[in-house]
Symmetry: C2
């Protein structure tokens, strides 16, 4: 079962069911072994609907990626970021999740395979360009809020957000393509590097941190 | 043509020719469309040799990856790292190359596709585990030398090397899976984040930098 936040509250039942079937089939079979038929096998409604709607598995998968990203874009308005003493912790939590559960790992594996399609398929490349830009923007908004609140030093938020997205992409890739990947070690390492940069006063221009 | 440093000086001519044919076919066709036949098409010697040696395209590709990594392991002994004022620059050059030429991009695309195989194939996973460990170790040796020379602050070199490998993996992934990837912007961003951490005195414990 996919995490509830991915498919909950979608008004169009059929669309939600197609997206959920795609998620399930993708986690089960991975990209290479996925077929429209295998997605249809997970789909409780009329199979012909799937064939009617989509021009093949990539067409469906691109719609699936768009669905997920659009929901992320809609769900977390930047106004709701709260800067507090735990901001660095909260940012790290997003970049290197403490210990992804197994079903989340399966999904990350599939997303990594989809991203690899972007090396030769412009439609996937367009999606991941948009997706990276979205996360860069989100990190930046989060950092700006934290700088305003004095929880983070007065840094170059755009540059830092760019690096953070790159670290996120690299961590995700390592988590699903290497043995013995330890998120704890990676997180501590990142914390040690970022603390010098992010904590108030670390940029050589101390801010009013303890108000 | 592959970069000269990849295949030059290999004593076994046949092996070098197989590796070069694999490189050429991989850059031309990518992983998904690669077949042993297409590698054989690039191979000037007896085709049956290829079929005799290898159990399929993945067997050959894994040998190819091992060949490249083994050469890297042999070629750059850590004793040759030189710490000087340009160390930060030299490290950045390795992580985010200024502007990869087109043939290098083709190779990076193919490597990214191979790495995606590691999501479901343990043999590829083993390779990329070894490869990440190699680069972590190399970065660490480079940083240790730079710390000893006073060119870099007295940092946690293991933690920093871990983050640098993650940034390298993330940068490579973004370079070949997004549109308009600008290594200049990414490099400046990384420089801005790392400077706070790497430059002498930036960790709040100034070292004897100018000896």
């Amino acid at each position: 079962m996919p995490p509830a936040e991915l498919f909950g509250g979608v008004e169009d039942d059929t669309r939600a069911a197609i997206m959920q079937a795609t998620y399930d089939a993708l986690c089960e079979h991975g990209y290479a072994n996925l077929t429209i038929q295998r997605i249809a096998d997970e789909f409780p409604k009329s199979k012909s609907l799937l064939y009617h709607h989509y021009d093949g598995k990539d067409d469906l998968l691109l719609d699936f990626l768009d669905f997920l990203l659009t929901r992320l874009e809609e769900q977390a308005p930047p106004g709701e970021c709260t800067g507090d003493a735990d901001t660095l912790e909260a940012i790290l939590e997003r970049i290197v999740p403490p210990a992804p559960p197994n079903d989340r790992l399966e999904f990350l594996r599939a997303i990594t395979e989809l991203r690899a399609q972007a090396t030769h398929d412009p439609a996937y490349r367009e999606h991941f360009t948009r997706s990276d830009a979205f996360f860069r923007n989100r990190f930046r908004q989060l950092l700006e809020r934290a700088v305003d609140d004095g929880a983070v030093a007065d840094i170059d938020t755009a540059a830092t957000a760019t690096v953070l997205v790159t670290v996120t992409n690299g961590s995700m890739l390592e988590a699903v393509t290497t043995e013995g990947y330890d998120p704890g070690i990676h997180r501590e390492a990142l914390e040690s590097v970022l603390e010098a940069h992010l904590l108030p006063g670390s940029d050589g221009a101390p801010t009013d941190a303890n108000r």
